[in-house]
Symmetry: C2
Subunit: 185 residues, 2 copies
Amino acid sequence: MLREDVTDAIRGAVFEELASVGFARMSIEGIARRAGVGKTAVYRRWKSKLHLVLDLVAAVASQGMPAPATGSLYGDVRAVLELAAYALRHPVASQVIPDLLVEAARNPEISDAIKAALLDQQQGVAAVVVRAAVERGELPEGSDPDRALDLIVGPLYWRLAVVRGALPKGYLDDLAASAVRALKG
Amino acid sequence: MLREDVTDAIRGAVFEELASVGFARMSIEGIARRAGVGKTAVYRRWKSKLHLVLDLVAAVASQGMPAPATGSLYGDVRAVLELAAYALRHPVASQVIPDLLVEAARNPEISDAIKAALLDQQQGVAAVVVRAAVERGELPEGSDPDRALDLIVGPLYWRLAVVRGALPKGYLDDLAASAVRALKG
DNA sequence: TAACGACGGAACGGTTGCGTTGCGACGTAC
DNA sequence: GTACGTCGCAACGCAACCGTTCCGTCGTTA
């Protein structure tokens, strides 16, 4: 039986290594070193660093992402932004997520995994939020959830993950209001 | 005298190599191979792959980015989106830009260079556009250019560079209208 | 025509990571 | 108490790339 504490140590090391050097530079030797573990222990569990990362991403995907139901479009949008901002301000996640998203452009397997773990989740949330808003009469029939996602998450991702700028107090409120304004019409 | 055609061949190879494998995996051997050039020719010009890329990015930065002046906020926003979409749909640029942006999170020198070549340029354009709109009375006094940039470029970058989805006909028009709606208020 | 310098190419020793193998130590199951 | 499997560790041969050096070729300049 494989020891679970060793498995956990490796998983943790992968996260840290992914955050500090990125997928491209990450090596199994480095992971084992950081985990305080022999290379053997890693290869006994995964075939390559790709499988390691795919496994990790799949674990994240399986958690699922809850769709907000605050009763108003603004409230729902604000909740989505809160969750996204929390993730993108996390020191590890804010390095890992953009890194894997870029890597996904070159590797179809990573692309599929990330898609399932992040994008599909978010698109699902967006679909729920938009549908609720349509039923409430806040948005017109036939509103496009993908466009909604662009308008809601795009500006935040741009600021936090691309420009890597600060997030002034009240900015999420403003962004939510702006997104709602953009969506209606 | 260094031969200019060789220099150009190397520069071109760097772009292609950057697009196909990314900065992290890029090697000087690979660049020389792709350029059909000896390693010597590369080292005679640049100290490392970092200097190579910094030089390239600086060249882009020096070109400058023109600020639109269409006479309306919608027109200006639409023009900015057109330019951004053109770059982000270019097969090479759409790989290189996100790659370097992610690399910038780990390397201060790349960060500075990218900032000067892309972000500062865009922020300058945003500042001009916002000021013009304020003078026209389309936007309230004290509107934040950075927030404007988030709302204008964010959704497009999200769709083209992150999700890597298609760009439906008329989407840029819609995005421009949405951004204007978001900005006013 | 002679001198110079950049050229491509090949080789250098050194480093890093690959994926594999063999080792003795430890813990658990039977 | 014996057998088994995982453990960390060290070493293996192999490959890629590092940055440097030397070579013979070629084009330009004087």
